[in-house]
């Protein structure tokens, strides 16, 4: 099971594990964890390692436990609209199998070819479609978990409605592999939309763009996504003072046609013309939106959670401050959800100290706007000097006790989650 050759592949912030293992059964995962727990070895559950930049600095790292060989479809009854899969199955493969039956799991996080179901759940990854569909949390109905000591447990079940016992799947969703290793998941699936259209508008200012976004959200329309970017999605060129609003509609052909026409009526005079994207351009735009949180070069990537009505103020203040500091920032906001992904572009002029000072400034700003900011990627040397998750608040003692209860020897991803959990 152990293969030492892949140490580099699963390096996190420059830290390499002693080895990597690829269990093929739940029993092997259980044995690996039991042994690690007895010996106090630190384990990092991984899939293909595409999102290892997320999270705080590890305190220890002995073994990468890759779930990529646990990739079976355990049960799929299309007419039940549920599917049970092993955690290492990639999202792209799952979508392909579901697609053969006209269905899909309606989530669109970055890098579906590398993102595994287990990883998507553990890191609660999402994409533009969260506006209309929700996140993986909303589709997750059951989990099988291997606990730190090797015990196999389950939470939830395989039926779409179930309130028997505590809702364990919610706890493990977004827990970053710090409470147990997800080995199997059951999710609800949906019929695949028949049609999609992607429109965009270019505005001279962020307020105007947000104003239209809120107007669309307040109308009868049901956009599948609504994104705000301060760059050209086809060229990936930054034009710091223009903002693009990108709107998708998906569903039954008649619904999509209606919304496409109705948008034109909702545009006020003086507002910019609609651009409609088709074919390869539409594909490129959808890909760019989806992969933005992990694409391109960056000195710093951060994700901010805000109320949708605060997004304009946030973008504007960051833009102005960035100008003063000689830094170039690209924003992509899930405008209807208040989630903003940002990336500071590489520049020789930005010293590490300058970057840390920007991080401090961003923390103060998000606090003022009653939001949260999580640093998703930064130079490993600097990572230790910032708290990537930020302050969690009054619920932290509960979180810490949960971690100590479920992973008493602290072998799972030590240091990588909030407050050094």
């Amino acid at each position: 099971m152990a293969e030492v050759g892949d140490r580099q592949q699963f390096a996190i912030d420059g830290l390499r594990p002693q080895g990597a293992v690829y269990p093929e059964t739940v029993e092997q995962v259980s044995q690996t964890l039991r042994a690690a727990d007895e010996q106090g070895h630190a384990i990092v559950p991984v899939g293909y390692g595409a999102f290892l930049h997320l999270g705080g600095s590890l305190r220890r790292y002995d073994l990468a436990l890759s779930l990529q060989r646990l990739e079976r479809i355990v049960d799929y009854q299309p007419t039940d609209m549920t599917v049970t899969v092993e955690a290492g199955l990639t999202l792209a493969r799952l979508q392909k199998i579901l697609g053969e039956h006209g269905q899909w799991l309606p989530i669109d996080p970055p890098l579906p070819e590398q993102a595994t179901i287990g990883g998507v759940i553990a890191a609660n990854l999402s994409g533009p479609m969260r506006l209309s569909q929700g996140t993986v949390r909303d589709f997750l109905i059951g989990l099988k978990i291997v606990q730190a000591d090797g015990t196999v447990i389950k939470g939830g079940g395989r039926v779409v409605k179930n309130v028997a016992g505590y809702d364990l799947p919610k706890l493990y969703c977004g827990s970053f592999g710090t409470l147990g290793v997800i080995v199997e998941a059951t999710v609800k699936v949906r019929p695949r939309p028949e049609a999609q259209v992607v429109l965009s508008f270019t505005f001279p200012s962020v307020e105007q763009a947000i104003e239209l976004a809120l107007r669309l959200l307040g109308s009868e329309l049901q956009p599948s996504f609504l994104e705000l970017a301060n760059f050209d999605l086809l060229e990936e060129e930054g034009r710091d003072n223009t903002y693009r609003l990108i709107v998708g509609f998906a569903g039954i052909a008649e619904e999509v046609a209606y919304q496409r026409a109705r948008v034109r009526e909702l545009i006020e005079s003086g507002e910019p013309a609609i651009e409609e994207w088709q074919g390869a351009n539409e594909q490129t735009i959808v890909q760019t939106l989806r992969n933005f949180p992990v694409s391109g070069e960056a000195l710093l990537r951060y994700k901010t959670s805000l109320l949708p009505t605060r997004v304009a103020a946030f973008c504007q203040e960051v833009q102005a401050e960035a100008g003063l500091r000689g830094v170039s920032v690209r924003h992509l906001a899930r405008a209807g959800n208040g989630i903003v992904y940002s990336r500071v572009l590489p520049s020789a002029k930005v010293s590490p100290e300058k970057l840390l000072s920007l991080v401090d400034w961003l923390r103060i700003l998000t606090k003022k706007l009653e939001g949260y900011m999580v640093i998703e990627a930064i130079d490993p040397m600097l990572k230790e000097r910032v708290d990537v998750w930020g302050h969690v608040g009054g619920a932290f003692p509960l979180m810490k006790r949960l971690k100590e209860t479920l992973d008493p020897h602290g072998i799972l991803n030590p240091g990588r989650f909030v407050g050094g959990i």
Binding site: T79, R158, N162, G165, D167, L171, L306
Partner: protein
Amino acid sequence: MDSTLISSLCDIVGSDGIVVQSTALSVYECDGYTLEKATPEVVVLPRSTEEVAAVVKLLHKQKVAFVPRGAGTGLSGGCLPVEAPVMIGTSRMNRIVHIDLLDRYVIAQAGVVNLWVSNTVKKQGFQYAPDPSSQQACTIGGNVAENSGGPHTLKYGVTTNHVLGLEIVLPDGDVVTLGGAVEDVPGYDLRGITIGSEGTFGLVTQATLRLTRQPQAYRTFLAVFESVHEATQTVSDIIAAGIVPAALEMMDNLIIQAVEAAFRFGFPTDAGAVLIVELDGLAAGLDPQTTKIIHVCQQNHAREVRVARDDVERMALWKSRKRAFGAVGRLAPNYCTQDGVVPRTKVPEILRVITGVAEKYHLRIANVFHAGDGNIHPILLYDERNADETGRVVKAGQEILQACVDLGGSLTGEHGIGVEKMGQMPLIFSPEDLLVMSQIRSVFNPDNRCNPHKIIPTPHGCIDVRVPKRQAPL
């Protein structure tokens, strides 16, 4: 009870917030699950989070156990005071604290009635999606405790999909905020694990609720079938056709007769079963789906498919459905309901099991349920004065739940475990699964003095369910 404790409680909530007289206390002896009864020694009715925190802090100091209670519409005995002398009721915490339509959320105190939330934002075109059948009475705090569902959860999801944040008073009196109005709050999803914890983690004092836009249009149908089998096959075929209706409900002949006698909607009392199907969304998308659904109904030999002409008729139809349980009293002196769940495709199978069980135990069993979700509610009719019949009801109910589990389902889709189904938890959970649940409870509620003896069976469980009895709306 110690009179100094009562006077200290009085100091916190005022004398009008304390119930100690035995006649007044009898109101609090059970919820919608009436088999088990236990009267608290005192009921405390705080008005604010601060008062709840002060009450809980005092009880914690004195090592006195308590139970939270909303409107008492629960169906599994979740707020039964078992070895808990104090009950904390949220009925005076009934304010909607904050409304933000642009960011689409409201903050409601725990005692706010579910339907009030939607009514408050109705004119502006919004709604709070979860719609349990008891929504005219049940509270947000109770909905959070039970992770309540309702007919429209098929498309919109249940309570947990619509609650963004919680404020909770922990069993030691600390006030903690879980989640919040913004999405993706960093940290473990403690809001998610608290929703559905049936009041065993603390007392939720307020909740931040996501608002949803009201759909532009509805199409609501009543499809009439000669047999339950044809109706349930239609349910499977609608799902298989790639349509997700907003709601997909079934009523069998016994229920049709009771509901018709009560509400005179015009249901055909000789039909084997009816389906209520509702589509919602943009008007432009509804016609093609309507055509498909009517076609599926006809393929399954529907005798008739009636489309609600207007909103008045639609509301009348929903009123009949949501109050179906009230009408069941016409069929028998007593009844008991199960809340099992099976995979959607197993609905025809579980109904065959139910028919078989009814024959085997010589019982009448009526069915009204959320067919699209596979969440069945068989209603076992009986007369409690007939001890033999009552005993058969208990056995039949257990056999039905066992069949749900054998078909890959669950013990409860929306009513909770409470005290009622504690003994059956081992049917679906291993000792290891249950141990983790009790460990998680201990993180929030280390002394287990907040709603003790619920959900997780213990070897010394003091609840012994003997006779079922259930008279409440579902």
